[in-house]
Assembly symmetry: C2
Homo-oligomer: 352 residues x 2
């Protein structure tokens, strides 16, 4: 079932049949990976893009910067624990944080659909303001475009962010080393389940809120403690499993983790059972994985747990010293081992 490298990344992908963009191309799975590799990376290839990191590390004069962008198309616009404005700020802040940067400045670009209520826009702009305040960043530049009714969907927001890398960190998939321990900053899947519950009028009752949160302080405290983080990634589309597969593929390293070391809230687990979903693939918006040398893992864990956003942090696995191809293996409670693959798409579109 798996392709040459067993990560699913080089697998044949379902044909679109018509050379057209499918919803699954945006899902964080194999189809998206192939779209990015075959069209964006193949054409635009440069040292920054080829790092396949959450942002680009730039040297400008004497300063090391991180630079990143994301478009936000989540539906509904408002969901338990957040909204598109909050997500647009925290998502970009988190991409900077996992580059080892202190987020400083964000841009915000709005594409509005004709007929969208201005009062709702106002509410979302206020949410952007509050999120920027909480994450200690300034929205310093922006843009507004309007498209005809039926040619957009209420509003889309694209943020970009600039942060400063204050240490001499080398953080990214290619710095992952055999023996590194894999830490997870908290329980997984809250964002995805909160969105599904809000969107689908699901049969189950849940008070679950999105985990949408800014991770810069959490991650910064681990770095400041002197932990030599080799790689970080925030978990979004495709969840924990997809993030690990991507890191394995880019680093060329095999990883393994214990399923029962991965914290999952009871409500998320219950909803996943009801819906036939695997919580390891469900989106988060306030969680990250960290890779660091084994001798610093306990120290890193302690720092993570000292922050309210990291109180459920756990060491979930490690990087193996085995020959290629790179594989990700999940070990069940009973000790059985299964290869982890990328999904074709996402269980639910427009999650972020």
């Amino acid at each position: 079932m798996n392709g040459p490298d067993d990560t699913g990344l080089n697998c044949p992908v379902p044909s679109s049949g018509s050379d057209r963009v499918l919803i699954a191309h945006g899902g964080g799975g194999r189809l998206m990976h192939r779209l990015i590799e075959d069209y964006f990376l193949a054409e635009l290839a440069n040292p920054w893009l080829l790092e396949r990191h959450d942002g680009a590390l730039l040297e400008v004069g004497t300063v090391r910067l991180a630079f990143t962008t994301d478009a936000y198309v989540v539906r509904p616009l408002f969901f338990p624990g957040g909204d598109i404005g909050r997500l647009a700020v925290f998502g970009t802040v988190n991409d900077l944080a996992v580059c080892g940067a202190r987020p400083l400045y964000l841009s915000a670009s709005f594409i509005l659909e004709e007929g969208f209520p201005i009062s709702t826009l106002h509410q979302i702009v206020r949410s952007v303001r509050d999120a920027a305040c909480r994450a200690n960043v300034a929205i310093v530049t922006g843009d507004t475009k309007v498209v005809e009714k039926g040619k957009g969907h209420d509003l889309f927001i694209t943020t970009a962010g600039v942060g400063i890398v204050e240490g001499s960190y080398c953080i990214g998939p290619r710095f992952v080393e055999p023996g590194d321990m894999i830490l997870l900053s908290g329980d997984v899947g809250r964002h995805g389940i909160a969105i599904m519950a809000a969107r689908e009028s699901l049969a189950f009752q849940t008070t679950l809120e999105s985990d949408c949160a800014p991770l810069a302080d959490l991650v910064g405290s681990v770095l400041k403690a002197g932990v030599n983080i080799h790689c970080m990634r925030d978990l979004t589309r495709g969840g924990l499993a997809s993030a690990l597969v991507e890191i394995a593929h880019t680093s060329g390293r095999s990883l393994e983790f214990a399923e029962d070391a991965v914290p999952v809230a009871e409500e998320v687990r219950g909803a996943c059972e009801l819906l036939g979903l695997d919580p390891l693939y469900v989106a988060c918006e306030g969680r990250c994985v960290l890779f660091c040398p084994a001798h610093q893992a306990e120290q890193a864990l302690e720092r993570l747990r000292a922050d309210p956003l990291g109180q459920n942090a756990a060491i979930i696995g490690k990087v193996l010293d085995v020959p290629p191809p790179p594989r990700v293996t999940r070990i069940s409670r009973l000790g059985t081992r299964r290869l982890v693959d990328l999904p074709a798409g996402e269980q639910l579109p427009r999650i972020c």
Copy 2:
């Protein structure tokens, strides 16, 4: 007909009747100005946004950076002289250039509509690549989202850009001074007319191409010559007239310019007459205005004209030393004077 400051910026605007976003909110005129002032600036106000410049000037460590963003929703995707990919690169490059920065790095974020042909996407990505190459910038980070069919429009691109400000320039509307001369880098209106011709199957035949071009080298050569540029702005939605009104309003200075000093290509003039348009309000994508001290104006003009993109450059007017309110006056060939106002919207939506 004009409001308290005669620029049209504080005028009552046509009521939307329903507190909803109108196409004109994206047109670069009064409605857009009010939307930005009342909702974005009012909520997000900070020193960078309040500069009302094309980008933000940031001090990061010892380095001065410019940072900017724009969303691109132009239709059709391909037009004489360019396409959405080229526009997305050059537009952001130009916003950096008029901040006095050397553009270095761009992000590119794509929102794709389900069903969009991947071959067309590929063509646009190649155009982004070629434009980045021509403008000497690298696309270092990006994102891709997919929305359902009918919830987007083929594709939208949002770029953000980072550049370095290598001199100790102070460039922006608030540095405009009485006595400054106003220069225009080339003839106006080609982009808008090219888009109209491509979109509307107009009765007139034209071989006109968009002026879409990167301005960083042109502007850089004027700065390198030691010209003390006080303000620059690239002309996009709303054309030359809107750019001047905005600068007048932000700087608090009154401006005047001679209509017949403004270069307009014969084809643009002809098309405008046919369509009942004023070329001063028609969009450009490769033109800018520059404000500099009178004693340096000839030197600046010479530098502009030495570049193929600036061969039609002209001195078109000056900044007056008169009490507020700030006004923009156009002087006709016959010497008659008329106040220049912002349009309510744009003559044509989705021009950029």
